[in-house]
């Protein structure tokens, strides 16, 4: 068990380091000069040189990579080229939007998907099953940004229940903030729920074929109890795996959804920073997100041990 966790921890560190290399190389190759972008077409060469010097863009590649890595290791992120503020502050400011948004979406998708998947599995081959499968197909096929716009048209333009995007901040209390996040969370959760429902359905169907389920039925356990108490817990491992993987999709989904709903979150920060060639923000945030994704998958791996307490056979 400990060896297993140690190996996962090592791979976590390795993945994080690889992320720094990939991000750095991609940004290095990507055409676009942040100084030119900031000063525009009328800038004189001496002005550009002055700004490039201030931004530290002319230092050698390895020096910049070294500085970046050293900063990360000491827990210090850089200073944004466009906003001229420490990235750590920008990220903290944006996390209070993206964090709750991702959690809401995760909770919503689980709350929708698991019962639906169970229901479909219990009625395999019947109308309910086909309905859920159809919903799954549709949810996977619909692009998140388009679904977001549909939600705005329905709930903001027609019904006027919600604002068409924007975020009031948390200073007026939790209610208005959660309300502003609800539509985007639904838009984020739908495709996730669709995938999760399909996975839950097939995982539960697999466990329903197991001998112990037949035994349980044979000794007279009711349908619902078989489903919830016997089939579901054993179907949770594939469901957890998918949930862990979905976290990565959720993170990339926020980039699109936050742009559609104009939410001041981490996704929008990255989106804007790429356009503005704010290399420091892009690389810091991308590395941070990669670490988060890797860490969540590590936690999922650790959770297997809790869900499935059978002792691990060391390979």
């Amino acid at each position: 068990m400990l060896g297993f966790l140690a190996r996962r921890l090592l791979s976590l560190a390795l993945t994080a380091w690889l992320a720094t290399v990939v991000v750095f190389v991609v940004l290095e190759v990507l055409p676009g000069d942040p100084a030119l972008l900031m000063l525009g077409t009328e800038a004189r060469p001496d002005t550009l040189a002055a700004l490039r010097d201030q931004m530290g863009l002319d230092r050698p590649v390895l020096v910049r990579y070294g500085g970046f890595l050293a900063g990360l290791l000491s827990g210090e992120l850089g200073t944004s080229l466009t906003y001229a503020r420490p990235v750590a502050g920008l990220v903290a400011e944006r996390m209070v939007v993206t964090g709750p948004l991702a959690l809401m979406a995760l909770a919503l998708s689980t709350a929708i998907a698991v019962p639906l998947g169970l229901w479909a599995a219990a009625r395999q081959g019947r109308a309910a099953d086909w309905g859920v499968m159809g919903f799954g197909q549709l949810g996977i096929a619909i692009p998140g940004f388009w679904f977001g716009i549909l939600l705005i048209l329905a709930f903001s333009v027609q019904l006027r229940w919600f604002s068409a995007g924007g975020f009031p901040g948390w200073q007026d209390g939790v209610g208005p903030g959660l309300k502003a996040l609800l539509l985007p969370a639904v838009a984020l959760a739908l495709p996730e729920a669709a995938i999760l429902a399909r996975v839950t359905r097939s995982a539960v169907l697999d466990t329903l074929r197991e001998d112990y389920v037949r035994t349980a039925r044979a000794k007279g356990v009711g349908r619902a109890a078989v489903l919830w108490r016997h089939a579901l817990p054993n179907a949770l491992i594939p469901v957890m795996t998918v949930l862990g993987l979905q976290f990565a999709f959720l993170v990339s989904g926020t980039i699109v959804i936050e742009t559609v709903f104009t939410l001041p979150g981490l996704g929008r920060l990255v989106y804007q920073a790429i356009g503005q060639r704010d290399l420091i923000v892009v690389r810091d945030v991308v590395v941070l997100l990669s670490v988060m994704v890797v860490a969540v998958n590590f936690l999922v791996d650790a959770a297997y041990a809790v869900i499935d307490p059978r002792p691990k056979v060391e390979a």
Partner: protein, 499 residues
């Protein structure tokens, strides 16, 4: 155990959803002294003296920061922080008399020292002003008394006063210049309340402003990137006005809806098919003229701009008195285009690349221009690029055949006289007139010289001259005082009120 967990989770989810549905609906009716303005792009920061980003000027110009002189809606130079000014007969000395009650938002009084600081900072060696060229004619700035600044130029500059009215020339204080990016301290009738990065900038009325107080108490600029969401925010009532509305295909809906008014004005953005004049075969004027004959501006404007744009035949804004209508110089005539190409040695046409930056006008026009040129035998490969790539490759690297872009700087015909500009155009005749323009101050004479320049570049068919980007403002009925025309990048809300 799992049974109860799921039940609790389900119950919680239900309860949260129900609670949210019961929350009061967002107040859609704004109090009548507040305005919510929808903008497409968020500024990187709020200091107009340190970036070319138009999104900065569009929020802070005239509202938060003031220059010495201001450019008004008609493009005329009017008093700003300087109540009066005089120019010496040789055009070398400008004497500005400052408004006596003007104060910065931090409470300090504006004096001539701030003017000297601002101008010296913008022309210093380490200046990062995007328009440093505006300030390089300055030889020195003197401050005979706190309310007078005297600027001496090393050479006459006919556009100096106009340039001093741009966003890049707003007056800043030495105490706050370094922190204006995040905490802008200006002298304007509004001051910054808060900037929720990624979402909105809120300005509030400055109670200590020495001039006429604006009618609005509070102005919120919200950044809405997605065109469909821009439309939705107007329809849902979240946003009161969107200046520079770009969703042309939806205008019909707003024109026929009594809850909204639509204003169509002109601006300074000349959309051109920029051409690399140094590259074969575009170095041949017959090829460039053939392209001009092959482009049907009427169809282009209908198709790409839904009929909202005005055609141009040269690089000049039609609302300017010096504008010459040269749209008839190369009438749409595919046969003529083919004949010219054959004469230039391309009887079967040729292939070239068209690089398109992100704005919708460029992408849509690009498709149509490619189809039109194909009729004449010029087969274009379209390459979509981001702004950063466009600036680096097309603009700085001059590595392109053709591109479509709008030049938004006011009175910018002078770019055709620049060496090593990305058009790679070199005309001694044009440059000779540039020389004259440097010294001529008189309006009528200047306009005559501009007209000559307009004709030269049209005859040389330097670029494909397409249309001027329309300045369309969609707003709720009842909003009054928004600018109809935009001679410069600004959303001046100082005169806006509700009926």
């Amino acid at each position: 155990m799992p049974v109860t967990t799921w039940r609790i989770a389900g119950a919680l989810a239900g309860a949260v959803t129900a609670a949210l549905a019961l929350l009061p609906v967002a107040a859609t009716a704004q109090p009548r002294n507040e305005l919510v303005v929808g903008m497409q792009l968020e500024p990187p920061h709020l200091d107009p003296t340190g970036s070319a980003a138009a999104a900065i000027d569009e929020i802070v110009y005239a509202n938060l920061f003031e220059p010495l002189v201001r450019v008004d809606q008609s493009g005329a130079v009017v008093p700003g922080l300087a109540e009066r000014w005089s120019v010496s007969p040789d055009g070398l000395t400008y004497r500005f008399e400052l408004r006596r009650g003007a104060k910065f938002h931090d409470g300090t009084a504006l004096d001539s020292g701030d003017v000297k600081f601002t101008l010296d900072r913008a022309r210093a060696a380490d200046s990062t002003n995007a328009q440093k060229a505006y300030f390089t004619p300055i030889a020195n700035v003197e401050t005979p008394d706190p309310h007078t600044a005297v600027v001496t130029l090393s050479r006459p500059d006919g556009l100096f006063l106009f340039h001093m009215g741009m966003g890049d020339s707003v007056i800043v204080a030495p105490e706050s210049a370094a922190t204006n990016k995040q905490k802008p301290v200006g002298t304007g009738p509004f001051k910054l309340d808060r900037w929720a990065a990624g979402d909105r900038v809120v300005l509030v009325r400055n109670p200590d402003y020495d001039g006429p107080k604006p009618a609005l108490e509070r102005v919120t600029f919200r950044f809405i990137n997605d065109p469909a969401v821009q439309v939705a925010s107007l329809l849902s009532g979240d946003v009161d006005t969107i200046p520079q509305f770009g969703v042309y295909e939806q205008l019909g809906q707003f024109r026929s809806d009594p809850r909204f008014t639509v204003m169509e004005g002109t601006g300074e953005g000349e959309a051109i098919l920029a051409t690399n004049n140094a590259r074969k075969p575009f170095d041949d004027v017959r090829v460039r003229r053939a392209m001009a004959h092959a482009i049907d501006r009427k169809t282009l404007i209908e198709g790409a701009m839904f009929g909202t744009a005005k055609p141009i035949g040269t690089h000049f804004a039609p609302h300017h008195p010096a504008y010459v209508d040269l749209t008839g110089l190369y009438p749409y005539d595919v046969a003529k285009a083919k004949a010219l190409l054959a004469e230039a040695g391309h009887p079967n046409g040729f292939e070239a690349t068209l690089r398109l930056p992100p704005p919708i006008y460029a992408r849509r026009s690009g498709e149509l221009v490619a189809a039109m040129l194909a009729e004449a035998g010029i087969r274009l490969k379209i390459e979509n690029v981001e702004w950063a790539q466009w600036l680096e490759k097309v603009y700085r690297g001059k590595d392109y055949d053709l591109t479509i872009v709008a030049h938004t700087e006011p009175l910018d015909i002078g770019i055709y006289g620049r060496d090593n500009y990305y058009f790679n155009y070199d005309s001694p005749r044009f440059k000779a007139i540039d020389q004259q323009l440097e010294t001529v101050q008189e309006e009528g004479k200047r306009n005559e010289l501009y007209a000559q320049q307009e004709r030269i570049i049209a005859e040389d068919a330097v670029n494909g001259f397409l249309f001027v980007i329309p300045q369309i403002t969609v707003q709720k009925a009842g909003v009054q005082g928004m600018w109809k025309n935009r001679p410069l990048q600004s959303t001046d809300v100082t005169g806006v009120s509700w009926k």
